[in-house]
Symmetry: C2
Subunit: 267 residues, 2 copies
C-alpha cells in the first residue's frame, strides 16, 4: 500500500463517522501536512455509502494542529438534491474540532468544455531536474518536485521578489494513480508565498483552502501517474494573512483543478 493510501485510510464507524490515524510519512513542522488532512476529510465523503456523484468543490478550514494519533471524521450530507449533494465535514480529536470542511458533489453530464486559463509552455518534466536530496520536513519527500520557476529562496536575506509565481512539475513519490484525494492534497503542496516574496523565514500556517475539481474520475484515471504542472501565485499580504491562487494541469494541458488558500503569517 502506498504511503498516501495508508495516510488517508478510514475505518467506518457507522453512520457519518469514520476513524483515521495520522501518518508519520506526511509529518510537517507541527502536526501533519495540511494537504493530507484535506485528503482525509474528503475521503470521509468519498467513502460514505450515501454519496451522490463526484467532488466538484472542497473547502477545508484548518482549525488547529493535529496531534499524532487517531482522529474522527464526520461527513454529513446537509442537503441532497436530484443530482447534487452538499456535505459538512468535521474532523475531531479528543472531541475538539481540528478541521471543518464543506464538499459539493454532483453527477456530471457531458457539456461544452473549454480551458480558459491554458497551460503555459514550460517544456516537459523529463527536461526539468528533480530537486535533490531528502528534506527535513517529511511530507515534502512524498512528492517529486521539478521546479520550472519560483523555487525556494536561495538566500534568506530579506531580498525577496515582486512576483511570487511558482511553476513546478509535481507528482506523488512513489508515483501513484491520481484520484480526487491525491489531487486535493497536491493543491496544498506549494511552499508559502510569503517566503518567496520576502526571502524571510516567517512562521506561517494555512487557515483555509478551496479546491475546484475540473475533472471526473475518468480524466484522473487517464492522467494516471503522470506529472501535473502546478502553478501558484500570491495576491495580497495584509496584516497577518495572505492568499494565493493555484492551477494544476496534467501533461496534455487539461486544467484538472484550480485552488486558492489564505495563510497566516506572523509578521
Amino acid at each position: 500500500m502506498a504511503p498516501f493510501d495508508q495516510a488517508v485510510a478510514l475505518n467506518p464507524l457507522g453512520g457519518d463517522l469514520f476513524e483515521g490515524h495520522t501518518s508519520p510519512a506526511y509529518a510537517n513542522f507541527v502536526g501533519p501536512f495540511g494537504g493530507i488532512m484535506a485528503a482525509q476529510a474528503l475521503n470521509g465523503v468519498m467513502q460514505h455509502p450515501g454519496r451522490l456523484g463526484e467532488p466538484v468543490s472542497l473547502t477545508v478550514n484548518f482549525c488547529a494542529a493535529q496531534t499524532d494519533g487517531p482522529f474522527t471524521v464526520q461527513a454529513r450530507p446537509a442537503r441532497t438534491n436530484r443530482s447534487t449533494q452538499h456535505w459538512i465535514v468535521e474532523t475531531t480529536q479528543n472531541n475538539e474540532v481540528v478541521l471543518t470542511a464543506t464538499v459539493f458533489t454532483a453527477t456530471r453530464r457531458d457539456t461544452y468544455r473549454k480551458v480558459e486559463h491554458t497551460m503555459p509552455a514550460v517544456g516537459v518534466p523529463a527536461d526539468t531536474p528533480i530537486q535533490g536530496g531528502p528534506k527535513r520536513v517529511e511530507w515534502v519527500n512524498r512528492y517529486e518536485m521539478r521546479f520550472v520557476e519560483g523555487h525556494f529562496p536561495g538566500k534568506w536575506d530579506g531580498s525577496g521578489q515582486a512576483s511570487t509565481r511558482s511553476r513546478l512539475w509535481l507528482r506523488d513519490e512513489p508515483p501513484r494513480p491520481l484520484d480526487f484525494c491525491a489531487l486535493a492534497a497536491m493543491c496544498d503542496a506549494f511552499f508559502p508565498r510569503v517566503w518567496l516574496h520576502r526571502a524571510s523565514f516567517v512562521p506561517i500556517g494555512t487557515v483555509s483552502m478551496t479546491v475546484y475539481f475540473h475533472a471526473s474520475s475518468a480524466e484522473l484515471a487517464a492522467t494516471g501517474t503522470g506529472h501535473l504542472l502546478a502553478q501558484a501565485q500570491g495576491q495580497n499580504f495584509f496584516n497577518g494573512y495572505f492568499d494565493q491562487t493555484a492551477q494544476l494541469w496534467n501533461e496534455v494541458g487539461a486544467l484538472l483543478a484550480t485552488s486558492h488558500q489564505v495563510v497566516y503569517y506572523k509578521e
Copy 2:
C-alpha cells in the same frame, strides 16, 4: 434604512440562531441574489455575541433556491482559539438546508503588507458611464455598475470571446458605507462568465463562492461609499461547472477582497 440593511437584518432567536426574511429588493430569476444570501449568512456570525475578531475568509455553498419568506441562520463557533475562530453556518427554510457556509474570523495585528495583484490602470469611475436603465432582474438595480471591459454580450449569437475578463466600477445603489457583508455580496455581483464566453444564454447557478477579506473594518470604513474596481475572469469550463477568480480594489488601490466561485451551467 438602506435596502441592503433591510435585506441582511437578522432577529436573534437566542443561542446560535437568527431569523431573517427574504427581500424583494434583491430578487433574482429564481429566489434571491446569491450575494445577499451570502451576506445574510455572514451577518449571523457578525451579530453573534460570541464572535472573536473580524472575517478573514468566507465560503458559502448554495444548496437550493430560497423561497420568498422567513429563513433561519444558525451560526455555530466550531473552534475558538486564542485569537482565531472557525464557524459553521447553516441557513434553513422549513427545516431544509438552503445554504451552508464556513467563516474564519481573527483578531489581526499590524504586519508587513503588500498588494501583489495590483490594480490595473483603468481611469476613474466618473469617466466611465453608468449602464443605463432599470434591469429585469431586481437585484441588479441595487448596484451601480460602470463597465470598463467585458460587459454583457451585445448579441446572443454564440460568437463569444476567448477571454472572459470583466472590469467594472461597482458600488451599492443607493450608496452605503462599505462593510464585510456588503463586500461579500459584491463578490457575487459578476454576471456569469459562461455568458460572456459563449454569447449564449445558458441556464446557470452558483454552487460555491469563497471570499478572502484583505481589510479590517478600518479599511472598509475608509473606503466608505467609494467605488470598487471589480475584476473577474473564468478559468475552466468543464462538464457542467465553470469557475472564476475575482479581485475587488478600492479607488486608492487597496485589494480589499479576492474571491472565487464555481458555477453550474446546463449545457
